[in-house]
Symmetry: C2
DNA sequence: CTGAAAGCGCTAACAA
DNA sequence: TTGTTAGCGCTTTCAG
């Protein structure tokens, strides 16, 4: 069938350019898209092709090329995104991913899953060669759900809750970070350190608790009973859970410090304290976890995870695996990579008051 | 050529499934991908195909389909992303985009450009049918640079600095928002309202100033000289620029309130004030602009722009245009859509002090 | 109801 | 140096 007039509304193709310039398609391909055609094009033809392309405003078609190359030059990032609260943790890692992907000329496509239960079932369908590899951000996938993970698309996870088959995981040494921060607090003289934590089935939350308990044990300090409060990693949860805890502990001495399981939680705690007229750090010190922008803007003491760097690393790791697969080679990487955390002091942490306040 | 053994490492194709099930390719296509083949497949064949697909773990190839459909079901978002500071404004809009795109089963691909100067030259190359349409987030593109915008890919912008040809722009009524907020502040009794603003060549920054001046004029109040400070939309800028301004105005009466051009700036101002031992709002009120998460977590009074909704709208608008183009129809939309802003009161705004403090 | 053929836009092998 | 042919995986004609 000859070209129908409606085609005009679409972008010009190599065939169009070739016709316009009076050369073959692959001459045009070689000049415009750098195809590895066997030989070189004469300077004269080259300029003719360039002119034709310019005139028709030719644009390469990435899907056609991807079909041939079996490579889209795009990576995916799957994560849960809450409707109510921007997840700063995600944003830090994501920023790192974008930066690194860009550096390697890869596009980044975001897949927001409502929750990992549903995410598990949707992941296979996005691995349809629109992306060459996938990064799972803090996936809550049990081994059962992980059975659905496609094995023809390389996958890297960051802070995975479980070990996932064929998936390289990237995490940071949260327990050590928690340990050192709490040890530091104990050394400052704090004895009543309340831990406002994350979900009890979350491995990261568990590790923070381990560090918290470990530091106490190492200092031979027994944390007061009922001083570990489970919750979620959000500001709203931090605000609400601390308030609830305080109400249940009226009359008891106020904690000297709060060690929160995330910066978001810490911000929530700050809110609750200030709503009760308590000053930070004069009355209560508050410490966060993650080292997000939230902590920086609130001058919060926190345990910094190298989130952005983890984004970078995840991309490099993924690209290595994609490259290896592409060359039919086997990429051997350790299945789990642990990056160090770092203690960041801030204005929200100071020595404890000499006289305890009673919870009102 | 027969199948080479290396092929085994790739995902199974429709041909593979067809062979396995002993049916034609398009029978498989019809069953697995819902292709509009003329007739229906018998139940028996259908189950055979499904079984074969399951066995070979068949995955549709999106690039192949896109080649045929001329549609990738993906939209792009182009924006500048600073390395140092997470842009909360962007994040709010982006979240809205993701949500809406997801609702329409579209993927979202992020293109981070270092700056719009370079972005202008890179945009054409990303419109290579890997995305069906593009959203420009707060583009700083002059008409000259806009000449490079490809016309075969529908484009929608949010808060564009200039009118762009063939581009539908979405913005909010920033001037009215600024006007009403400042009017409210004046009504509360504030007379020395310092405006810590954005870049003077930014249209949004200009509109905030117009609102600020308009409210003063309407109230017959002349703002003190030198009370409009240009800067950038960042926390760092807010912190630094306010400090510099204060140092240049030693001995003068302290402003009673600060009207910042963004929430990020406001947070920076808060820092500077607290570093100087000044209390908010007792000594100085502080008001932000944007209504981002930053404002919510700091309980900042702010002028809320419906950022998330703008993300939604942008996606819907874009999809309409994509659909129209796809059907060779002409999509007529107004070239500029203005959404209302809204005043949000918060703990950072209170009545002015009765006695002025001198700047130290 | 099913199969064969053509083509989406591009690139890699060849042959001229 | 250039053109020809085949094919990436899929879908939509159109014949059987």
């Amino acid at each position: 069938m000859a070209k129908s007039p409606t085609r005009a509304r679409h972008a010009a193709t190599l065939a169009d350019v070739g016709r316009e310039a009076g050369v073959s398609i692959m001459a045009a391909s070689a000049v415009l898209n750098g195809a590895k055609t066997s030989s070189r094009i004469s300077a004269e033809t080259r300029t003719r092709i360039l002119a034709a392309a310019e005139k028709l405003s030719y644009r390469a078609n990435a899907t056609a090329r991807a079909l041939v190359d079996r490579r889209m030059n795009a990576i995916g990032v799957a994560t849960t995104l809450s409707r109510n609260e921007l997840n700063q943790y995600f944003l830090e890692v994501f920023n790192g991913v974008i930066e690194a992907a860009d550096e390697f000329n890869q596009n980044t496509t975001v897949f927001a899953v409502p929750d990992w239960q549903e995410g598990a079932s949707r992941i296979p369908s996005i691995c349809d060669s629109r992306i060459d590899g996938l990064i799972l951000l803090a996936p809550l996938l049990d081994p059962e759900a992980a059975r659905f993970l496609p094995d023809h698309t390389p996958i890297v996870s960051v802070h995975a809750n479980h070990e996932l088959p064929h998936v390289v995981n990237l995490e940071s040494d949260e327990e050590v970070g928690a340990f050192e921060m709490v040890r530091h607090m104990l050394e400052m003289g704090h004895r009543r350190i309340l831990h406002v934590g994350g979900p009890s089935d979350n491995i990261g939350a568990t590790r923070r608790i381990s560090g918290y308990l470990g530091a106490h044990a190492a200092a031979n300090v027994k944390p007061p009973a009922d001083y570990i409060v489970p919750g979620y990693f959000t500001t709203e949860s931090g605000r609400r859970d601390l308030e609830a805890w305080l109400q249940h502990h009226r009359g008891e001495p106020l904690p000297q410090a709060i060690f929160a399981a995330s910066d978001a939680i810490a911000i929530g705690c700050l809110d609750t304290l200030s709503a009760r007229g308590l000053r930070t750090p004069a009355d209560v010190s508050v410490v966060g976890f993650d080292g997000t922008m939230l902590a920086r803007s609130a001058h919060l003491a926190t345990v910094r995870q190298p989130l952005r760097e983890m984004g970078h690393r995840a991309v490099r790791l993924l690209l290595d695996r994609i490259e290896a697969k592409h060359q039919d080679a086997v990429h051997r990487a350790p299945s789990n990579i642990v990056l160090p955390t770092e203690i960041v002091l801030g204005q929200s942490l100071a020595a404890p008051r000499t006289r305890a306040i009673a919870i009102s």
